[in-house]
Amino acid sequence: QKEVEQDPGPLSVPEGAIVSLNCTYSNSAFQYFMWYRQYSRKGPELLMYTYSSGNKEDGRFTAQVDKSSKYISLFIRDSQPSDSATYLCASRGNNNDMRFGAGTRLTVKP
């Protein structure tokens, strides 16, 4: 069983839409949850970083973690064409080894 599962998409939305990206994980030891954005042939860029369950908001981005269901979400409000990228969820435990989901390719159409 993969440790982090993510629907690879692709996902296409019109500009201004609310985008919901989701992952599930299997390892109960995971305590830290990240969302990275990756443009083509570039390194992953950290978007959101959360510890344990709860919500975290940063501008148009909101990350949610529900440890009881092992579910991770990223919401993007008022999506823009510049948000078009691949979004990677990642999780890790206290051993600091990260595991990534497959990445969801998002296109926001003007």
Partner: protein, 112 residues
Amino acid sequence: EPEVTQTPSHQVTQMGQEVILRCVPISNHLYFYWYRQILGQKVEFLVSFYNNEISEKSEIFDDQFSVERPDGSNFTLKIRSTKLEDSAMYFCASLYRNTEAFFGQGTRLTVV
């Protein structure tokens, strides 16, 4: 702003040759990683390194791979005898301790 730097950005090598991919992590970071991403596929964990030794490695990280932190600033990944299937983007990452990890821009390795 501190960043993880990787060199070269693109490396072309012949099958069977040895390659060394180089990374300079953020200076006060303690944990170092190599990940691989085959074109169009997911980011895959290769190896993590802490306190001058490997802390975990994946099934991908076989005897053909090795890592080194030779001088306290560089962190290298060596592939001894490259195969066609080693062609991928290789990303280095580092983190301090129980914080977020930062990635370099990657080295694109092409084995011909």
